[in-house]
């Protein structure tokens, strides 16, 4: 695997839209060719080389390419946009849409990410060592298809509206989350190891949420359905089971109504 290192040298005055920083866009290119890829700062189109110092050549395919992003990229959006294979490591924190629409490969952010990380993600692994913002693994605005596959791991906390319209895949949050988890979800699994606030699973059609910590207020549409012993992400324990959202529409399978599931650790 070949490694390309890009280091922020001339930070933008506004924000950069760097939707070309992905193993797919870099594959088969030399450092000079990578420097010629376009980026946008507001309504001005320029090149990656204007802002970043680029060293190393990419592999022949995306799967053979690893990108390391160094320097302050807090004002850079769309890192790992639509990546399908290979690796992307961001040494610090980055802005919105990190790993948006990714379909494969591995992306690691060692700092925090802002909103819309993993938007409409289809596959691959997105790991955030710091905190994530709002709309993690959610659908793009107006779309009804959120995350459909892949895995997101957040070692810190996450914001609100995570997993909105989630259809599949798995999300693990080691810390706490803000309001609205899996709103309108029709599948997928979200594990929250910290505490949750309110509006968990509102309008949920299907899917599963695990909460290890506290829930400030339960949605009235979640009906108690007993207790179960389970092993979740390697942790065994007793969970209170709720089904819902009973106010929402639900599918039927073999005559049985399929509800969303919420498990809260006792």
């Amino acid at each position: 695997m070949e490694t390309v290192t890009i280091t922020m040298k001339n930070p933008p005055a506004l924000y950069l839209e760097a939707d070309n920083v992905s193993p797919d866009a870099f594959a088969g290119k030399t450092a000079a060719q990578i420097g010629d890829l376009h980026v946008y700062e507001g309504n001005v189109t320029s090149t990656l080389g204007k802002y970043f110092e680029i060293s190393g050549n990419a592999g022949a395919t995306a799967a053979d390419t690893k990108i390391v992003v160094k320097g302050d990229v807090k004002k850079v959006k769309y890192l790992g946009f639509k990546m399908s294979a290979g690796e992307l490591v961001v040494e610090g924190s980055t802005d919105q849409y990190a790993g948006g629409w990714m379909t494969g490969g591995k992306m690691l952010v060692k700092g925090n990410v802002e909103a819309f990380a993993g938007t409409a993600m289809k596959g691959g692994e997105l790991t955030i060592e710091g905190n994530a913002g709002n709309y993690l693994g959610a659908a793009y605005r107006g779309d009804w298809r959120g995350m459909t596959g892949g895995k997101i791991l957040v070692k810190g906390n996450a914001g609100s509206d995570i997993g909105m319209y989630m259809l599949g895949g798995e999300m693990i949050i080691n810390g706490n989350v803000d309001v609205h988890v899996c709103t309108h979800a029709e599948g997928g699994k979200v594990i929250i190891k910290g505490n949750a606030k309110t509006k968990i699973g509102g309008q949920m059609v299907d899917g599963t949420i695990f909460v290890f910590g506290t829930i400030d207020v339960m949605m009235p549409g979640f009906k108690p359905a007993g207790e179960v012993d389970m092993e979740v992400d390697g942790i065994k324990g007793k969970f209170a089971h709720y089904i819902g959202d009973t106010g929402e529409r639900h599918k039927k399978k073999k005559g049985q109504i399929i509800y969303g599931n919420l498990y809260k650790k006792i």
Binding site: L14, Y97, T183, K199, G202, V217, M218, G221
Partner: protein, 438 residues
Amino acid sequence: MTKTITDVICPFCGTLCDDVEVVVSDDGKQLLEVYNACVIGTEKFLHSQSKDRVTRPRMHQPDGTWKEISYDEAAEYSAQMLAKAKKPLMFGWSSTNCEAQSVGNEIAEITRACCDNTAATCHGTSLIAIQDIGLPSCTLGEIKNRADRVIFWGCNPAHAHPRHMSRYSIFPRGFFTSKGQMSRKMIVVDPRVTDTAKMADVHLQVEQGMDYELLDALRVAFKGEWLPDVVAGIPKEKIREVADMMKSGRFGIIFFGMGVTQSLGKNHNIDAAIAVTKDLNEYTKFSIMPMRGHYNVTGSGEVFGWQFGFPYAVDLTRGFARYNPGDTSTIDLLVRGEVDAMFTIGSDPGAHFPISAVKQFAHIPSVCVDPHLTPTTGVSKLHVPVAFNGVEVGGNCYRMDNVPIDCRKVVEPPEGMLTDEQFLIKVRDRVRQLKGVA
């Protein structure tokens, strides 16, 4: 001798009353009296006559004073600012007519700006929810003639839309509502005992920020499913009673305002309220309508929608329209420091935005086009006063139910003053030259 002009449209709130009468002097230069309008609307008409009105553009000087400049110089400054910026922001539009909005959109397209309207601080969240699940709505006329279940959720029309209840929603005697308010059941959902709540048959005093839970509980109640004993501070028996009251009507309407759109839950509250409306249509006829604030904020959404495909928070920086509130919305753009020029028209963000967003005005070039003196004109580098739309110039406006109504000119503006549209045309023509667009 004075002249009385009838059937004047009031350019204040989204109710857009069309039965106002104004008395003007014989030469048509002075507006003397206003009839039928509410106290706020009357004040809006009379304010155009104030003696201390600013009638020429003014430039903020480094020592804090203002220097009077000509409209041409103001147009030059605005055009230069917009043409040079990498990411200009054009905000406001809700207190001007659709014709001016359309010219503004041309400028935004040429300069590749972000454009947004006052929905940013009011019903923008409703627009997000509408995109997500749709909006079963109707006109105010249908409500007047048919509605026998009227729900005001998080809004206080007694103060914010003073003639709404008397013209459309509660008191009028309509074709199928011949007994006026006697033929309607009024439900108000509000954490406070407002003057509207005091009039209600049922007041649900919901806990602050728990509207989403209460809306969900109503949906559960419609389906007869299990409910916890108390939801959002309301006992379940009460929720089931209200659910039955809503189901038993012949035609129901939910009006909702800032209390749900801008409290915890935001777009999800409206999403759930629309879902409630949808559910109710299995039992009876129900509609839902946002209580729009500015008299032409609806029109701004219509013009944006018609020209760019999205109703607010449109980002044209890449040459095509993108829309994702949180990324392209005004307050986020300002707070995050994403824009380098600010053009405000027909709105007062200085009074309504968080202070962290307003502070950004001070760091970037800014123009404010507004007939009034406002906090925004106070912090902008350039203030361009214009004629009052709906008083000194006519033009198309949209009522809160998306019905277009032409505003009327009733009095002459002070001599030499331009309208919003005339000033924007000057800016547009100069921007075209600067950008080399034919």
